[in-house]
């Protein structure tokens, strides 16, 4: 921290010196771009993890506190333990990234400093506040238990507020590079720095990253649990990590369902900022990137659903809902195929003549946004249905109005599906500008259905009759590989989206303001980017394993783990068994 503050305080001097220095320096062997790329992606991966996990950790802690179920308190503590170990690695990578910019892109960094210098101090102070709040939150878990639990929960909430504020500040720098604002034609700041911060893509990326961080945190935590499950020696241990993996995946899935909507918002703002940039992103040299993205998101959707279906096998009473699975597989598979269909093919002249153009006469119609928006919205609805079935797998509603409730739910889902399909088909018959607006109606229909179904479901299953306890720990081991698949895929997807976000600037450091005149001004093709993303993702997982192993060293030899009262609650008998109680809670 001291090093970081010292580095920040020295920046004005460095900035002045940089004007007499070269615009670029070459990083040995791999070059400056790859060095910055690797460290930036690693830093973002770790930062997303340590910012995402506390958001749901504090929610889980609150659930444990209010219900008195010690398992949730234990789980929240486990999650915070994971990020705690990753905190210093994130800071180190951030400092390294700063040094790379100052050293290898001095002119660029001088320019960014001329715009954003006041925010550097805000960032440093926020980081300071965040670090110490999390320290107290973690180390004070036992000290602030019982009657002081409210203070402890408050610390968790405050640390999240600081964490989110850090994200907003860092996003202002990144988004300014994409959609600069608040500057004159020479690139100098016109008035307040706020105009530069509040640029076109700032708020969409804030929202997108906040949600994506929760998904990412959930998938990594679930993968950690899966790893522990597969290596578990006892049924009790297996049950505990089965449950942890379920919660991690539940968190990831809940946030993942709304992530595409945040993506639409971001895309719309990119078009609003600069049509050329938007079209380059979707229809220019990056168009094939979205096919890969479609495949990755398809894997995430199908994997998440498959995990839920496997999980239902350990729930007595879930047999009632198996008949829906083939239908859901059908929708997901068809949606996946539609989404992954390219609009135009790169083919030889002879092939194009034989096909009558670069668009396939039949499948080409599935490659446009109308079809893709319809597919993704149907996949979201199907995934939500999977979740609803899982939720009620071992419960039978005892409410007298259950028939009407079910009818309302099916009507809401059916109506949403009808709206999505109607606008999907209608979109083929209108101009593109009108068609873009249709995606809003489709999204609103799906979100509306989710709200209505949940609003009915929660009271309908309150006090429901149980058909048997969930047999935690008995889930098929292949389900744990699904959790690992989801974590690896989402991490890879983050790398790909990072490349997209950075690549749409093409040969500009700051789009339209500061041109990239370095030897790396060429934006590489997708294969090159994929190789790089894979290398960095492997490095990330290797570091995560190492950091978790380090964090686990402290637990070795300590019966009951950290020692807080809720450590290692009993899971035998499943979720309906009488849980351990959180001390101080009278429920």
């Amino acid at each position: 921290m001291v090093a970081l503050l010292t580095a920040f305080s020295a920046l004005p001097a460095l900035a002045q010196d940089a004007t007499r220095d070269p615009a670029y320096r070459a990083f040995p062997l791999i070059g400056s771009r790859l060095a910055v790329w690797a460290i930036a992606q690693l830093h973002l991966n770790f930062a997303a993890f340590i910012l995402g996990v506390p958001i749901f950790a504090v929610i889980i802690e609150i659930i444990g506190w209010r219900t008195g179920d010690a398992r949730y308190d234990w789980l929240a503590h486990e999650f915070v333990k994971l990020i705690f170990a990753a905190f210093s690695t994130t800071a180190l990578l951030g400092a390294l990234l700063l040094f790379l910019f100052v050293g290898y892109y001095p002119k660029f960094w001088t320019y960014m400093t001329s715009i954003f210098f006041p925010t550097y101090w805000v960032y440093a102070l926020l980081f300071f506040a965040e670090t110490f709040t999390v320290y107290i939150w973690y180390y004070g878990w036992d000290w602030l238990s019982g009657s002081r639990k409210a203070i402890h929960v408050g610390l968790g909430i405050v640390s999240n507020l600081f964490g989110t504020a850090i994200l907003l500040v860092a996003n202002s720098w990144v988004t300014f590079m994409i959609s600069p604002a608040g500057i004159d034609e020479s690139g100098a700041l016109k008035g307040s720095v706020w105009a530069a911060i509040n640029n076109f893509t700032w708020m969409p990326i804030n929202i997108h990253r906040l949600i994506a961080n929760i998904v990412f945190g959930g998938t990594i935590a679930a993968a950690y649990a899966a790893f522990r499950f597969l290596g578990a020696k006892t049924d009790e241990e297996r049950a505990r990590y089965d449950w942890m993996g379920y919660i991690g995946n539940f968190v990831a899935l809940s946030a993942f369902i709304v992530l595409p909507f945040a993506g639409y918002y971001l895309g719309r703002e990119i078009y609003a900022f600069n049509q050329t940039m938007g079209i380059t992103m979707m229809g220019g040299f990056m168009s094939w990137l979205w096919i890969i993205q479609a495949i990755l998101i398809g894997v995430l959707f199908i994997g998440s659903n498959y995990y839920l279906w496997l999980g239902m096998e350990r729930i007595p009473g879930s047999e009632r809902y198996r008949r829906y699975v083939p239908m859901m597989i059908g929708i997901l598979a068809f949606g996946f195929m539609v989404w992954a269909t390219p609009r135009s093919m790169v083919i030889t002249l002879d092939e194009a003549r034989a096909m009558g153009g670069t668009h396939h006469p039949v499948l080409g119609f599935l490659g446009v946004m109308s079809a893709k928006n319809t597919a993704v919205n149907m996949m979201i609805l199907t995934t939500f249905l999977s979740f609803i079935l899982y939720r009620r797998a071992n419960r039978v509603s005892t409410k007298s109005w259950v028939g009407i409730g079910m009818l309302i739910q099916w009507l809401a889902l059916g109506l949403a599906a009808a709206v999505v399909i109607f606008y999907g088909v209608y979109g083929y018959f209108v101009e593109s500008l009108v068609r873009i607006g249709f995606s809003v109606y489709q999204v609103m229909a799906v979100l509306g259905a989710i709200v209505v179904v949940m609003a009915v479901d929660i009271p309908m299953f309150k006090g429901a009759r149980s058909t048997g306890a969930i047999r935690w720990g008995t889930i098929a081991p292949r389900s744990q590989y699904v959790l690992i698949l989801l974590a690896v895929t989402f991490t890879w997807l983050m790398g790909l989206m990072g490349f997209a976000r950075s690549g749409i600037r093409q040969h500009w450091h700051v789009y339209g303001v500061m041109r990239d005149n370095s030897v790396d001004a060429v934006t590489p093709a997708i294969g090159y980017a994929a190789n790089m993303i894979t290398v960095v993702t492997i490095a990330f997982f290797a570091l995560v394993m190492f950091v978790f192993w380090l964090g686990g060293l402290a637990e070795k030899g300590k019966a009951g783990g950290h020692g807080h009262p809720a450590a290692m609650p009993v899971f035998a008998g499943g979720s309906d068994a009488e849980p351990a109680r959180v001390p101080g809670r009278k429920s």
């Binding site: 615009a23 380059t280 500008l433 093409q506 005149n517 997708i526």
Partner: protein, 265 residues
């Protein structure tokens, strides 16, 4: 033999990532290269050459094809087939040439009915066409159904002034690059150690063929006067570059030399 969980999970994760990587390398590979600058000022260019250069600008740096089609109605922007003839009748009192130039520099001044005001000014970043490029592009558009008659002087002197991007605006060196090249190969003796594009081949010092792309004028000026104090490029021996250019070159020769070096991109 039972494999440890870490090995199985690691192999599985590598397989997943390998599959994604293989697929990403199997689909069309398209790079985005920075557009090259076109300079026609002072040169003799035939109308045919101008039209050809303009077509290139239309398809590459101008990014016109993203929205405009020739012979095909677009949803974002008008079909440009026959624009060379049509443009003369679009705005009363304006020739085809004047209308096309206005459309490029002030796209919002006149909108074709049914199309939104979304076209960027092409002489401003990020497209940032310079005067030569605007000249060629106008000639190409005139050639679509008309006869190119645009002259370089028809393009406003101020057009393309901010094309390079404000934050990275180039510093104008008031020297003569030709005379500087003579200093490089002659009195300065730089050629003995440095390569500069097609000139020289010595590997003793760093290749300067793209020096203007990677270094600022301030750095180059300082390096000539104070080689040791400006650091040595990695991989080259220290203290080889003579420190006496501040005394041996006249002020004009010095400025000419810097001016020449800053043309090396």
């Amino acid at each position: 033999m039972r494999l440890p969980v870490g090995v199985k999970v690691g192999a599985f994760a590598l397989f997943v990532m390998g599959t994604y990587t293989y697929y990403a390398n199997s689909i069309p590979q398209i790079q985005s290269k920075p557009p090259a600058e076109l300079s026609l000022e002072g040169g003799n260019v035939t109308p045919a050459q101008l039209v050809k250069a303009g077509e290139e600008i239309f398809k590459t740096k101008g990014t016109c094809e993203i929205c405009h089609r020739i012979g095909q109605k677009g949803t974002r922007a008008p079909d440009l087939a026959g624009v060379g003839a049509r443009a003369a009748k679009t705005k009363p009192g304006m020739s085809a040439r004047q209308y096309i130039i206005e459309s490029l520099l002030q796209p919002g001044a006149y909108l074709v009915e049914g199309y939104p005001n979304i076209m960027p000014q092409v002489d401003k970043p990020p497209i940032g066409l310079n005067r030569s490029e605007l000249w060629a592009l106008t000639a190409f558009l005139e050639s679509l159904g008309g006869t190119p008659d645009v002259k370089l002087d028809d393009i406003p002197k101020t057009a393309g002034a901010a094309a390079a991007g404000g934050g990275a605006a180039e510093v104008k060196i008031p020297g003569d690059p030709k005379a500087g090249e003579a200093v490089f190969t002659g009195k300065g003796g730089c050629i003995a150690c440095h390569k500069a594009g097609k000139i020289g081949a010595s590997p003793v010092g760093p290749d300067l063929s793209q020096i203007a792309k990677i270094q600022t004028p301030e750095y180059v000026m300082k390096k000539i006067l104070d080689p040791a104090g400006s650091g040595t490029v990695a991989g080259f021996p220290k203290g080889v570059m003579p420190p006496m250019f501040g005394q041996s070159l006249t002020a004009k020769e010095y400025v000419d030399l810097v001016s020449f070096l800053m043309t090396l991109k």
